[in-house]
Symmetry: D2
Subunit: 238 residues, 4 copies
């Protein structure tokens, strides 16, 4: 059965900064979607902030199994009400993969409860990503470590809750480390945060990064369970 | 060095329902505070919703090491801005111990990010509390298991993030289980959720419960570290 | 691609105690295997202690993706060297599902490092199993809670390491609770411990239990990664 | 009340390699003990492999609240029976702080159950240690990050169970990262693994390292609970 993936992108940098537009001429979402589309089991749509209902009307959310989220400049423009609708969908089973600067999006902060900030610098550091949980589905086919020749550095302290599963750790040439691949359960849903993916660098064309994103789509897909029920209840029969 | 504890209570049930007022004639906060005051290292204040600034002006928060929180009927009346001030203080090191129906308070839901609901029934169930982490500071002096003759049942599924440390599990005679003693790190601060403490029952006079609350005050106390710093940073010298 | 499952059973109770033999006339392993075989993606073999090399020559281990383990009376008869071979295979990617009294098997204690004991009684308690992580692959298709009319009670404290993922919690009518469905990563491999399955009760014919075991086989299957490498290494190129 | 600490060292490098002897003329244990002794609440003894009963007769173990362990060359010489006695003491409440190359000691591997290996190189890398859990007792007084000018590099993948609490992460100039400060509960006892401390470098004279070790002694100290009881039990009264 196909997994319905929606790749959401604010789509601002690529259209307002020429250098970024040259790296991602059709938008970050298109590059991300291309990498995902290499997997026949994934059915891909994209959505952007400038579309009606910010690209995510309820009908789209309701038919999305896994939502990918890239945002940065326009975090504040995302409707609070959309954030709540996404959180409910995650609680009820939808997966969400939050990418790079999405760590400071309204939706990630809403899901995590914490500040979600880190130290950062944008100085063309090399990043080396280490697999911490080699048996995890998101690590399938990923080497013990691999490098990205340039990435924006995000560095601890990273103000997130303790990950349920820490899949990747990153080393940066400028002296930083980060818990860069973090899994969380959230009600019936699952959340994966993955740090690489700065808009100025061709990270989303990297074959290993693309493999991780495909793996993440599979891992985050709903398991089909209905939402849990809460509230007043009778005693169970003993 | 003394630990400054503030016990906050909405203080509604005890003044509006005669049966509750008979169990806690001076309010739940007073019974909780009495149990804490048996420990000379704890310096106790109480605060209630009906006080100016809902009992927690910034000057009180700033001098509170550990905040105990009991709320139920009046969750909605707590100012959103107070909730944010509390969350910031926890991030910066203040401990918070959230009690019983406080699981659905604005502040706990804000800190957790999740819905924080459970199943529940109020049918005079017996509760048996099991120690899962016997070496944990909050379990010091607590037996392998102990019972409360009557408690309100809270039952899984409990919609919380995976606890960093699960200290207690509860069994209820009506057929339920709950992760009833849950620890979380939150920035520099620490959070402990503890389920027993229904307003209609004399739980806060129980010696073992009181020991757990004293232990929790010590565990949740700040370790003195300054808040972490975030944002743009230079490379480290390598 | 098929997942190769080997169901290992000491196969002692069923042949030495008439009452047990009536519940599982072809052995516990056969009942377990029947439940697994309902899934076309699982390729099932069984193995028993009385076979050459205790049923698990290296050639069998090397072609096993997921090993199910049921043992009780004969824990001590399992060769230490076999235990080490199993541990190496788990480290290198094989999944293992340890069932019921297997908690005290040599292999589970070897993998966990802890004592792995609990309290227990065999008094025809009812067991009610609650799903704690409803979005987990092992919980797919499993209700919020379900009951087994009779099971042996295992009760906290359960001397295991903190589970990486706690999928199920159990309530017992005789007053106990247990972390009854526990996941661990172990090198490239994955471990699932699941408590129900006393030899005197028809637990392995239960449809929900069988679904959980099928789910566990999928979850525990290797992700195909080669074993990690350790030891002296050059600096990475920076 | 004083915490009784025993610092155990195999004490081999310092007496067989002149360069090491110059860094630690009275042995690593003495330097470690000196750092701990700055805290009046810690009562310090040392023990070495060459002493009767390998320095740890049962009478010493029974009066030790927290055991520090430094070993490397002589792992194999440690009696298996001593390892079992230590594991039992940890299960029953004794804390253990395993240092540096102690990751591959018999006792750490016994407690963890896993292989406990990592990649490593000894090329005078700089190490930068980041605090991941700033509110943790072991992080009290420790900055957001600090450096050791030279350390032996231990690099992921580190074959350990998922830490219950990951307090520190390390960056190495040669391109590695490590989960370098890891906490575990183990029955009534607590375990802290801390990676810095190569015999050729003056790490144990570093003020921040010494603070961490003092903090670890406090964190790992027993909470006074008696050992948990296991085995056949009556139903609880309901």
């Amino acid at each position: 059965m196909k997994i319905n993936v929606t790749v959401w992108n604010e789509y601002v940098h690529e259209r307002t900064e020429e250098a970024i537009g040259q790296v991602y001429p059709h938008g970050l979402h298109t590059a991300i979607a291309e990498g995902l589309a290499m997997d026949d089991e994934l059915e891909i749509r994209t959505a952007t902030l400038d579309q009606p209902e910010q690209g995510l009307p309820q009908s789209v959310l309701d038919t999305t199994d896994v939502l990918f989220w890239w945002g940065h400049k326009a975090h504040d423009q995302v409707d609070d009400e959309l954030v709540e609708r996404i959180a409910r969908r995650v609680r009820d089973g939808m997966g969400i993969v939050v990418l790079h600067s999405g760590h400071y999006s309204k939706v990630f902060r809403r899901l995590m409860g914490t500040g979600c900030r880190s130290k950062w610098w944008e100085l063309d550091d090399k990043e080396r990503i280490f697999t911490v949980l080699p048996g995890h589905p998101i690590a399938a086919g990923i080497p013990e470590s691999f490098t990205l020749p340039v990435e924006e550095t995000y560095c601890e302290h990273f103000d997130i809750p303790t990950p349920d599963e820490l899949v990747f750790l990153s080393w940066f040439s400028g002296g930083g480390v980060l818990r860069s691949g973090c899994c969380y359960h959230y009600g019936n849903g699952k959340i994966f945060y993955f740090q690489p993916g700065h808009e100025a660098y061709p990270t989303y064309y990297d074959a290993t990064i693309r493999q991780i994103l495909r793996n993440a789509a599979h891992w985050a897909a709903p398991n089909g369970n209905p939402p849990m029920t809460y509230g007043q209840h009778d005693r169970f029969e003993n």
